[in-house]
Structure formats: C-alpha cells, structure tokens
Symmetry: C2
Subunit: 506 residues, 2 copies
Amino acid sequence: MLSPFRFLVAYVPKLHGLAQVRYASQVLPQLSAEKYNVKRKNYANVHNSDINYFKSILGEERVLTDKDEVMPFNTDWLRSCRGQSQVVLKPKSTEEVSQILSYCNKKCLAVCPQGGNTGLVGGSVPVYDEIVINLMLMNKIISLDEISGALVCESGCVLENLDTYVREHNLIMPLDLGAKGSCQIGGNISTNAGGLRLLRYGNLHGSVLGLEAVKADGTVIDCLRSLKKDNTGYHLKHLFIGSEGTLGVVTKVAIHCPVLPKAVTLGFFGVKSFENILELYNSAKSSLGEILSAFEMADNTAITHTVKNLNLTNPIADYPFYVLVETHGSNEVHDGEKLSSFLEKEMQSGLILDGTVTSEPAKMHSIWNIRESIAASFLVEGYVFKYDVSLPQKHYYEIVPKLKQRLGDKASSVIGYGHVGDGNIHINVTVPQYNKEVLSLLEPFIFEEVSKVKGSVSAEHGIGFRKPQFIHFSKDSTTLDLMRDLKQLMDPNGILNPYKVLPDTN
Amino acid sequence: MLSPFRFLVAYVPKLHGLAQVRYASQVLPQLSAEKYNVKRKNYANVHNSDINYFKSILGEERVLTDKDEVMPFNTDWLRSCRGQSQVVLKPKSTEEVSQILSYCNKKCLAVCPQGGNTGLVGGSVPVYDEIVINLMLMNKIISLDEISGALVCESGCVLENLDTYVREHNLIMPLDLGAKGSCQIGGNISTNAGGLRLLRYGNLHGSVLGLEAVKADGTVIDCLRSLKKDNTGYHLKHLFIGSEGTLGVVTKVAIHCPVLPKAVTLGFFGVKSFENILELYNSAKSSLGEILSAFEMADNTAITHTVKNLNLTNPIADYPFYVLVETHGSNEVHDGEKLSSFLEKEMQSGLILDGTVTSEPAKMHSIWNIRESIAASFLVEGYVFKYDVSLPQKHYYEIVPKLKQRLGDKASSVIGYGHVGDGNIHINVTVPQYNKEVLSLLEPFIFEEVSKVKGSVSAEHGIGFRKPQFIHFSKDSTTLDLMRDLKQLMDPNGILNPYKVLPDTN
C-alpha cells in the first residue's frame, strides 16, 4: 500500500533544495515498519532533553528536527524504505561522534549511521525513530603520501571528490561505482562496496590500510595506520569493513590509491550468448592480462531500456548480450596492440559479433554512462525488485531465463547485468507497482537457487534492513552465532543500526 | 646462557631423519621459559589419560610422545625459542581438530597450533608444555576453479606445493616467500604472511576468499566460500587472518590465484644511496606500471656476506646498495621494451650504476636465491637479532646507520634489506653469540624509533612470543582492550597459543 496523498500535500509547502524536490514530485514511500511488518524494539524515545544535549555538543544548526528537513534522511535512494526518525545529527569530528554515541548508549537511544544514503538494502535509513548520525560534514582530506599512495581522510568524503583529488596527484581511488557522485568513503567501507574495477584493484579488505571507528559506547578505536604491512596483533579494521554500521561508526580512513593509468581504453561488444561471454572472459584474462580493469556484461533488455528511458545512444546495434571491456595500462601503444590483437582474434572466432573500441574520454564516458545508468533507469518504469548475487561463473546467467519463465507477464522486465569477472550479477525485476504476489514468486526462490550452487545472496550490496531473513542461505547457524557474539561484545545495548544485518533469533 | 651440552648428548643417539640432523649438529637452544623469564600459566598438565584419549581419536602413530620425536616441534627455525611440549598431535581432518580442541578446552589443556614452523617470532612453538597440534597431514587440495582462479585446500598444504600445482593450471599463488618450501598455507594465513610480491598481488586479507577455522571450544566456523564478492554479514574470516592461532585453528582455505604471467623478467642493479633507490622506485612505478611485481633492496653487507657465507655468485660488482626489480606480464615483447626503456633512462640519469637484466629462468633463480638466502645466511656467523618493521618510505633506511653507530664493534654486522615497495625493511644484527647487552641496546630503541615515525614494530612476521611486550609501540590501549575482549569471546579459557600476541596486563 502506498502512503496516502495527504502526507505529500503536508510536506510540499516547506520543501526547498534539490534533494527535496525529488521527494516532492513523488508519492512518499510506505513506512518500512508497516511495509515489512517490523516491531519496534525496546529503545528509549527521543526527548527534548536529548535534543538539547545534542545541541549543546553540535550547536543548533547541526541538529535537524524539522520534519521536512529530516524527511530525506528517512528515505532510501530506491524509495523502498522509509523510517520515522525525528532527529538528524551532523557531527564534524570524531570527538563529536564519540560524545553522541556515549550518550545514546547510556540512554539506550538507537542510532542509524548514514553516509551518502545510496545503499540498496535499506541499511542507511532508520526503520523506527533511530537517531540519524549523518557523516557528510566529516569531509576533510587529511593527507596524501604520493610515494606510497596512502590517502587519509574523514569518512564523509564523497568518493568522486576523493578520486578527483588523488587524480591531481597521479593516483586513482581503488574503487569506482555508479553512485560515486553521492556515496561516501565511510559508507563504502561500512558496506564493503565492490564496484566496477574490483577485478583489477581488489576489494576494500585489501586496499584499506587503516581506519578509525567509534564503538557503541563512544570508545574510539584507532587503527588509522597508513602502512601496507602491519602485523601487530588482531586486524581489527576488518570488523568495521562490511558490518554496515552495526559494530561501530567509521570516522577516518586510510586507503591505498593505485597509480593513475596513463592509457585507458574501452571496448563495447555485441555477443550472441552468455556462454560466449564466458569464453570471451577467459580470452581477455589471457590476452589482456595485467591491463584488464573491467569486464562487465548486460543483457539486451538492460541496455535497450536504459538507452530508451534515459534518451542515450547505443553505439552499436541490437545484440542479445553486451560486454564492456576496459584496460588500464601504462603504455598506450602496448595496450592498443594487446586490445587490437584480442579484438581481431575474437571477431574472427565469432565470439564478438560487432563492437567499438575507443580511447576518447567523451566516448568512453558515454559508454560507461549506459552501463552505470542501468540501475537507475528502470525506476521510471515502475517498482524495481533488485537482487545482487554472486555465483560460480558457469551458473552466472541461468537465473534470468528461469525468472522470466516463472514470472511470465507478471513482470514488465527481468534483466541481468554485472561484473562477470567477479561472478557478481545484478538482477532487476520491474513491475508497474510494488506487488506482493511478484515478491512471493521472487523470494525466497532466488535465494534458494543461489544457495544451491553455493553462491552469495548478497554479493556487494550487503544485508542491511532488507535481507536479514535471507542471510541463512549464505551463512550457517554457527557462523550466525559468532556474528551475534561479536555484536553483543561490541554493542551490548544494540543501539547501532538496529533491525539490520542480524536476523531475529525468534 | 646456552643450554648445557648434556641435553645434546642425551638426544643424539636416537636422532634420525633429515629434519633432526640440524638439531643434532648444534647445541640446543635455551628453554624459552628460562631465557625470557616467563611464568607458566594455570593450565592443566597433560596426563596419560589425555594421551590415551588423543590416541583413541588419531591412532597411535599420529600422537608423538617420544622426546626425540617431539623435540623438533619444540624448537623454532631461528633457534631462539624452545618449548617443553611432551606431545605432538597430527590431525588429518577438521573433525579431528574439532575433537581435540573441544577436549582440551573442557580440560583446560593449552595447545600450540603449528604449521611449517618457519615463523620468526616464536609464535609456532610451545613455551611450556602446550600440546602441539601440527597440521602437516591436512595437506589435500580440494578443488581449483580455473576460470575464477579459486583454489580450495587444507591448511597444511606447503606453499611451494600449491604453487607447483596451480602453475600446471596456468595460475600462480598470490604470495611467495623465502620459506615457501616448508611454510604451510594455514600458517601463512594465521600470520598474514606478506612476502616478495605483495606489491603486485596484494595482501592475504584481499586474496583469501574464504576459510574454515575451529574455535577453542571445537566449534567449526565455516566461511569457506570461494566467491570474490560476498557481503552477507560480518567478514569473519579476517578474525583468523593474522591472529597467529590465538583465536582459532585454520583448517581449510579458499584463495584467489592470479593468472601465471607469460613473461617474467628480473633486473639486479647496483645503486649509490638509499635516496637513489627511492627515486628509482618512483621511476619504476611510473615506467613499469602494472607489470612491476617486486621491488626489493639490500645493502652491501647483506649481499656480500650472503654470497660469501653460502658460496654464491654475485652477478655484478660491489655497490653500496642493490636493487632487484621483477616484472610479471602477459607479453614478453612489451615487457622487454618497458624494462629496457626504464634501464636506459636510469643508467643515463645515474640512478642505476650497473646491473644485469635477465629472463632466463636459471639466472633469475640464482639472483632470487641471493635475495631469499639473506635471512638464513647470517645464522652461520653467530646469533642474529632480527627485526621486521614498516616505515614511511622516506624513513625506510635511516635506522640502519643509527644502529651501526649505536652498537659500534659490539655487533659483527648490521644489515638492512626488504620490500621497498611496501615500506617493509628487515634489519638483522649479528653477534658472535646471544648477548644481553646488545639486546638492551637494540630493544626498545628500535621500536621507539619506529614508533616516532608511526611505523609498525612488526610488518609481516607478527607478534608471536617474542614481541607482545612491544606491541604498545604500534597499538594504543583501547585497541589492545578490544583485542583482549575478542580473545575472551573466542577463547575464554585462553587455551589457544598462550603467551603469544597479547601482552600480559600486569
């Protein structure tokens, strides 16, 4: 059931600013607590005395309590979740985060740490009245070591801003994702974001050199070293990478930035079948070797609808599948030769039906733009059920035709696209509007299928609010017990991002 | 004080087998408990009933109790530590490890998990009478996915054997270290081993895909997924990477193997000063880019003594410093061109005084052999104090001349060598025999110097038995508290590898 129109009317007069226009132009999403039938846990309610305490630390202007101002922080990017928080805090320092948490822990007030709020599993918005701690004002770059490539910054820095900064110093950020213009590095780390070039630059557990985080009780855990090697005791930083703000709030980050590639080339190819994509991937690993930086695929529907919905241009004709191959290298001539010989070979073999290769920044941008817009472009067609799973590569695409058959004309579209090199496929199912019948056909079916071939029910998006009930498809009960033990150890009152990640025991 | 001769005499008659010859030919090291003045903690003593229980699980032949048979498992590779264990267990399966630990936990019997026993901080040998659980018989390769590069194996597999195996499938192991012929993958993971090519293939937190470990109470934690991306809850595997067997015993491993490079080239250069090495490193990062797989340095003493002590041949003349640059690439012509143009440029600039470049396997092997033999070669000159620290690169070599000045003729040599690309230097101080005066000049001096520039007092060797008292130079008290909390959570009776990693609180 969608939220009633009167809410919208009530909000409109006070709306201002770009972020809020989006909300004004659409009906508000249903409250998460109602939509997903969640019971409020036994936390304290926020009182005026609490607000006054927060104002005493942060000042008036960094404690938002006006309903309209608070609203965008309650709603997720996908508009599938809406919380009921009445207060948003915007700390500017680790000390302020520590003071806030220490207070909330003592008072048993639940909090929701929030970065750029671009998550896809409802992890970054409240469910009930959790206090939002938004890190956006902790956006200072602290240092950059140009020899080692170690960047140290606050966790609220926007990924794209960091990338722009380090590029001026001949480096790049080791991760890149569609949401880079809004997502924050602290959120990236808290969700162990993967993204487009994991294939080449590895995951965040490998590239985060150190971090600083605040525990639920306000204790600051300082693992902010910027060394590549440091084997002095337990590697605590990994507790905070991917635990989605349930074990602590990441406040500072040291991350290794690879050298800016001198030559970048992009190929966009039409391919006949998924089997051919897999053969092409093997060939690319061998022929392009160390310069291969991305190997992405999307099916015909994913590309053609994106191009149509967003009025973009597909540089090649209609093909059953599309593959995007990117190289990052240090020598344009060498890279060009490698890519040309790969192309020549695979056009002859028939694995590539047609394609385009470019090193022109504008053309590369427009091709990447198609790929990166897929996630958002289907939102204009209705409600999108989104899945993000990992599978052994040989089973990668099987689920899409299975779903098409299962759903028939109940879905307007079923698409598959993603990071072939990482075994990570995104499956989007679009329906005219949110529909419980379709949901019941999708879940737990998809997760059961993934579990059968030992895949992961959440490859890179995390568990958040939307998936705790499916985590058992990827984690057994002893592993879940250890997760609960860790949560109990780190956050005994359970104030950090409740209703998320850990499934209820009952 | 060295151990008395009578021990040696007592052991000699029963010695047999290659591993034991080494011990027969030398005086036994002093007992760790005496040498380092450690008090036995309040664990139960091993009784005959315990031995009988172990025999009931493992059979007679996998429970060693004969003193001479047990001896090699009590002494570390560096011969700086000697434990007093009376029993060595050799499980063949996870279930056996689980049964052993469950029993020991109930009886409060301390255990020392042991891999290839090549560690350099005394972490892999007992201190008192801890039961040794040696994983050498858990050496099965379980599966290899040639498309994704995911290798799954038991933790007792020797690194070099794994590398040989995956090379037959066009892949390589993502880590390589001098001890590869003896070290086991489970030990590599438990110590977060770094090694020679971390620069290129990243660290184990990045390349370990999954693992299975047994907690102190015998609970099996199954995180043995072989997916590149899996964001389903806490990333528990990292608890076991680098915690040196104090939080659990690693029993199975899934690890990502990169593609075997089609072209490998090695350069060995003479350089005038460390400043020039740093300039050369920057130049190599830029000119060789993605094919740079190792950038190692050693000072004159390190190389000349190694060559002399082990009767090797230095392919170039005498220079103040030596640099080893390796490339791994997919195209021999391209890589050759990159390396030649790098060489030409830097011979002209004067950063490289002289050198040799080769792609011949035998020649590459003999150069790598010099580099990899440095650690062992000084043992023939006497007792070696070994340090393994990380430093910001600009401070990398400063400590060596400082130590030379501080020690004067009290040390026969002070050398520095290591992984420049990772900021990781190994410092070895050789003395005719173990000498407390020299020790007091070295420690805590070295650690204080490292701490001043925010380095790490243990870059890749770990903390083990030898360094808990220095961990505070790299970890603050709140971080140590969290480590203790984790230890208490995972191993409340403290049976796993006691006297290691965590400093005593008193």
